[in-house]
């Protein structure tokens, strides 16, 4: 039991296996959880509760008020019931944005997972200077989007940029990466995968580090092929981390603003407008606060339902 990953420690604690004093534990089993302890816990939690109510909770309720009014940033306006929601739900732009958000999320989650998994598996093997590569490959995630989107713009934006020039010199024509609606959508997704794969790589590497490698030796003595070892041992071992990383990345992708906005601004002809970009534009460019907040509110509702559901799923899967 030398693995100190939080996961295993928790899993043990949850199953009640915590052997005397090693790895976490709860105070409940101790008589120490007196009224006094409970009071200390309350005080320790208080700053976090206050912030959560004021900065996260209050705006959410206020957003509900705004979504049912026809106001602006300055004035709340009149109560209009569900008119804003009706406007939003009947607007083709909303459904187009919802569709793009869906594709962006699917490609973002699974694309970055596949790249991250591949690199994590590769980096687990013995490679000269492997540690250096591991750090270098995290850079896309560490570098601010404002910076990397500029570099990507420099690389692909105009017909004379570096990458289109290379295509032209290879006789492949001059693709307009950010001006063609389909190509722009693909570019945004590639950019998102580029930004996100290091996160996946870190998650999977952490999970792989706790896999006992002697299992592979036993498997290969039993004649299991490399592919069988991968599907029968590696994947199940990292299943829980994978599941969690998918959930987190789904949330990151749906809520993403800078990756899209800074590369394409949502264009051309709204081809890369996601729901967040649409909401941002409604509020701060079209000054339609009510509809903008209604869009955000619909996203919020969907995400609350999805996240509560997923949260229970993770808990269920981790109790097994």
């Amino acid at each position: 039991m030398s693995s100190t990953t939080a996961q295993s420690g928790l899993a043990r604690a949850r199953r009640g296996l915590a052997p005397g004093g090693s790895g976490g534990g709860t105070l409940n089993r101790k008589s120490k959880l007196s009224g006094q302890t409970r009071r200390t816990f309350f005080w320790l939690l208080l700053p976090s509760i206050v912030l959560l109510i004021l900065i996260n909770g209050y705006p959410l309720i206020y957003a509900g008020v705004q979504a049912t009014h026809d106001g602006s940033l300055i004035d709340t306006g009149n109560f209009v019931g569900f008119d804003n929601f009706a406007t939003v739900l009947t607007a083709p732009a909303f459904w187009k944005a919802a569709q793009f958000t869906l594709w962006f999320t699917i490609v973002g989650v699974f694309g970055s997972w596949l790249v991250g998994l591949g690199l994590a598996l590769l980096l687990r093997t013995k490679i000269p200077a492997g540690g250096t590569f591991k750090v270098l490959l995290l850079l896309p995630w560490v570098v601010p989007i404002v910076v990397s989107s500029t570099a990507w713009n420099w690389l692909v934006a105009t017909p004379d940029s570096l990458i289109p020039s290379i295509f032209r010199n290879l006789g492949l024509g001059t693709p307009l990466f950010l001006a063609d609606p389909h190509l722009a959508a693909v570019m945004v997704m590639i950019f998102k995968v580029w930004v996100s794969f290091p996160f996946m790589m870190m998650m999977i590497s952490a999970a792989l580090a706790s896999v006992d490698t002697t299992v592979y030796e036993a498997a290969s003595m039993d004649g299991a092929s490399k592919w069988q070892q991968f599907t029968q041992i590696t994947l199940p071992m990292i299943a829980r981390s994978t599941y969690i990383s998918w959930i987190l990345m789904t949330i990151f992708c749906v809520n993403d603003f800078p990756t899209i906005y800074l590369l394409t601004g949502g264009g051309p002809v709204d081809a890369t407008t996601s729901l967040v970009v649409l909401a941002y534009r409604s509020v701060f460019q079209d000054f339609q606060t009510g509809t903008g907040v209604a869009i955000a509110f619909l996203m919020t509702l969907t995400l609350v339902i999805v996240s509560v559901f997923l949260y229970r799923q993770i808990r269920k899967s981790s109790v097994e």
């Binding site: 939080a6 709860t26 509760i49 705006p59 750090v135 270098l136 601010p144 490698t213 749906v254 509020v283």
Partner: protein
């Protein structure tokens, strides 16, 4: 969940398998060839992945058109500091980010401790609430907060920005702290209680003192989130001298679309701090904890 072995099944030393010497040597030769093949592969991948970042560095050091400098030069970088308010923006970003880091660790550490050690219905309910709040799009709260902060003079104000950053980093920071505390044996606290220490006292003196990697990991996460934020900054900051780097850099880009040397020089100024932080503290950083604490409760 036993020992963490970094040996690879293919190339690693085969523990306890005493094969014939000859077979073993052949295996290791194949292993060596595999190592260099994988080295080449990862080198190529890394090179391709880092192209955009290298573009920034190279362009920022290349003399601008009309410049008399030859070879590589730092004049673009010194230039943006005299041409723009880059110095002020850098300072604003540092103030906001560092305050965010300090406050969010100070709020998240005690909360994480309660999530780690307490197992009541209220505590797991609070954990679920954090999860839900974290998954909400920030755009939902941005508009109401804008109106609220406008009334309090916190729009176009670094304090207002910091408050939002703290609350948006707090949820993940709390999980990361909780995950780290889970790995600290409770027996340490028990010993201090026997010595007459209070719960709070043992949290401060025993648990927190042994949690440097956890605190650093959380701090790095908060640093990256606050430093890289664009959406909140662009909504809440209005005047040039209050801009943080993301907004300042972006406004400079829009006004100087063809001045790539200036743009990239400013980009270097913006990306260096997170890279320095990450390069020095990288060994403490782990996102594994996020998943662990998520699944745990």
């Amino acid at each position: 969940m036993s020992a963490v072995l970094h040996a690879h099944p293919e190339t690693g030393p085969s523990l306890g398998v005493a094969g014939p010497q000859k077979a073993r040597r052949v295996l290791s030769e194949a292993g060596m060839r595999g190592r260099w093949w994988r080295f080449t592969l990862i080198l190529a991948i890394t090179a391709i992945v880092l192209v955009p970042i290298m573009v920034v560095v190279v362009l920022s050091l290349t003399p601008a058109p009309g410049s008399t400098a030859t070879g590589l030069t730092f004049e673009n970088i010194t230039g943006v500091f005299s041409k723009t308010l880059a110095g002020t923006w850098l300072q604003n970003s540092l103030i906001t980010t560092l305050s965010t880091v300090v406050v969010s660790v100070a709020v998240a550490a005690p909360a994480g401790y309660v999530l780690s050690r307490g197992r009541s219905k209220a505590v797991s309910g609070y954990s679920l609430l954090l999860f839900v709040m974290q998954s909400l799009p920030i755009i939902t709260s941005v508009v109401p907060l804008f109106i609220l902060f406008a009334g309090m003079g916190l729009v176009d104000n670094l304090l207002g920005l910091t408050i939002i950053y703290v609350s948006s980093t707090m949820t993940v920071a709390t999980w990361m702290m909780a995950a780290y505390f889970d790995s600290i044996p409770i027996s340490l606290e028990e010993a201090s209680w026997i010595d007459g220490c209070s719960v709070f006292g043992s949290f401060m003196k025993v648990v927190l003192r042994n949690s440097l990697p956890g605190v650093l990991s959380t701090a790095i996460f908060a640093f990256l989130l606050a430093w890289n934020d664009y959406l909140v900054a662009i909504v809440f900051l209005r005047s040039n001298e209050i801009f943080t780097l993301p907004v300042g850099v972006q406004s400079f880009f829009q006004q100087n679309l063809t001045d790539w040397s200036g743009v990239m020089a400013l980009a270097v100024v913006m990306m260096l701090p997170p890279i320095i932080v990450f390069a020095t503290l990288n060994k403490y950083f782990s996102v594994g904890g996020i998943g662990g604490s998520l699944a745990g409760r």
